[in-house]
Amino acid sequence: MVISSSTRIEWQTATVKEIVPRTPRVTSFVLTPSRPFTPKAGQHVDVRLTAPDGYQAQRGYSISSAPESAPDIELAIERLEEGEVSPFFHQVVQPGDEIELRGPLGGHFVWAAEEGGPILLIAGGSGVAPLMAMARHRAASGSTVPMAMLFSCRTWDEVIFRDELLAMHRKRDGFELILTLTRDVEKRNGLHGRRIDSAMVTEATERLPTPPVLTFVCGSNAFVSAASESSVAAGVPAGSIRTERYGG
């Protein structure tokens, strides 16, 4: 997992192949890099936008597609009001546009099926992106590693990749989805309606045949702090928890 090569990961252009709205605030951008690469599930790219006067803005976005989808990569980008880069993607970017990026980046928040499991994934909102890559990688590689995803969203309509996740869950092949909706007015069967706590993490680990060997937590800074604390309180060893924080 350690990146030993010291070769520079160069900037390159990628063509926007497809734009897929996922929820009212999250849209997926499928990009085809001009110099293809195969990412590991969990890695990200840095995207760089350049204004006519040379001003540049740069942001990290997780790859949400499986490594098996290479050369295409999917970025699921949440539109933040008043943001600089995410509204640009939502309002300006069209299929056929060229976007500058470099990657794959990051060597810690990654999982490959050969590494085994069980694996616990805990996502808050758009933090599902790198965890979706892991779930999709598991499915695409035909892996039987037990995996549970605990996913917190505001409402039913804001569950990113909802149909695909529910379909994975219904296959009953060792992938378990536990959803919690923190702001939904409607009560739904089998779904939680509160923020992630240690009882919910315990429920997720109990859906796995043995305790998770690795737990991946991703979302906003506040979400990651709360969810990893809940995990520790639920008995998940702190040293087995890997976190990725989106800022904010």
Binding site: M1, V2, I3, S5, S6, T7, R8, I9, T13, D46, R48, L49, T50, A51, P52, Y55, Q56, A57, Q58, R59, G60, E84, F88, V92, V93, D97, E98, I99, E100, L105, G106, G107, H108, V217, N221, S225, S228, E229, S231, V232, A238, G239, I241, R242, T243, R245, G247, G248
Partner: protein, 202 residues
């Protein structure tokens, strides 16, 4: 390459020379850590200077806080592209730690160690000469665990992952030994003005 339709929200001209390339200003506090926030009790807290494997001086929390206190206000830059201007810190300068231990900088490289087992490497020259401290206060208040409390390294002129949270030792090494993030694709030095984000950047 100019991106079609992008004009950007550029920083006001009077501060734009304080924002390194590829960074954007924030009022938030940038956080980058690999795992959950460890709980570090003050009664067992200990900070150690080591030369190679050999400990040369340790301080308890009480002893550490009796060392000369310094305040510094600096701009900080997180590799995830946040920059925050004028952040006020207080703590003990590395120069004062060396002084209290009665040693000169023994080797050219340093590995900072943290309570949660993480490490980061910094050339010793970047820690001394008034450049760096072990910070215990932010904005006048004790550093919270989320931000690395009770004490974190502060090396503000390098990307912020170098400012190791929950720091508990500085180990002087003969060679530049890579730390946790540096072994996982991040740059060995991490100068924001040269955009040394990842391994192999210039």
């Amino acid at each position: 390459m100019v991106t079609r339709g992008f004009f950007g929200r550029q920083p006001p001209p009077d501060i734009s020379n304080r924002v390194p390339p590829g960074q954007a200003l924030t009022d938030d506090f940038p956080v980058l850590s690999a795992g959950p926030t460890p709980k570090v009790p003050l009664d067992t807290w200990k900070f150690t200077l080591k030369v190679g494997p050999r400990p040369v001086k340790s301080w308890t929390w009480e002893e550490f806080n009796a060392l000369p206190q310094t305040r510094m206000t600096r701009d900080i830059h997180c590799v995830t592209t946040w920059s925050k201007l004028d952040t006020p810190w207080q703590g003990v300068m590395i120069d004062d730690l060396l002084g209290d231990a009665n040693i000169e900088p023994p080797t050219g490289f340093t590995l900072a160690h943290s309570f949660d087992g993480y490490t980061t490497n910094v050339p010793t020259a970047d820690l001394v000469g008034g450049k760096s401290m072990v910070a215990t206060h932010f904005e006048g208040k004790p550093l919270t665990p989320d931000h690395g409390g009770p004490a974190r390294l502060l090396v503000p002129h390098l990307y912020f992952w170098k400012s190791a949270k929950w720091v508990n030792a500085l180990q002087f090494t003969e060679r530049d030994e890579l730390g946790f993030w540096e072994l996982r694709g991040y740059h060995a030095y991490g100068d924001p003005w040269r955009e040394q984000r990842y391994t192999g950047d210039p």
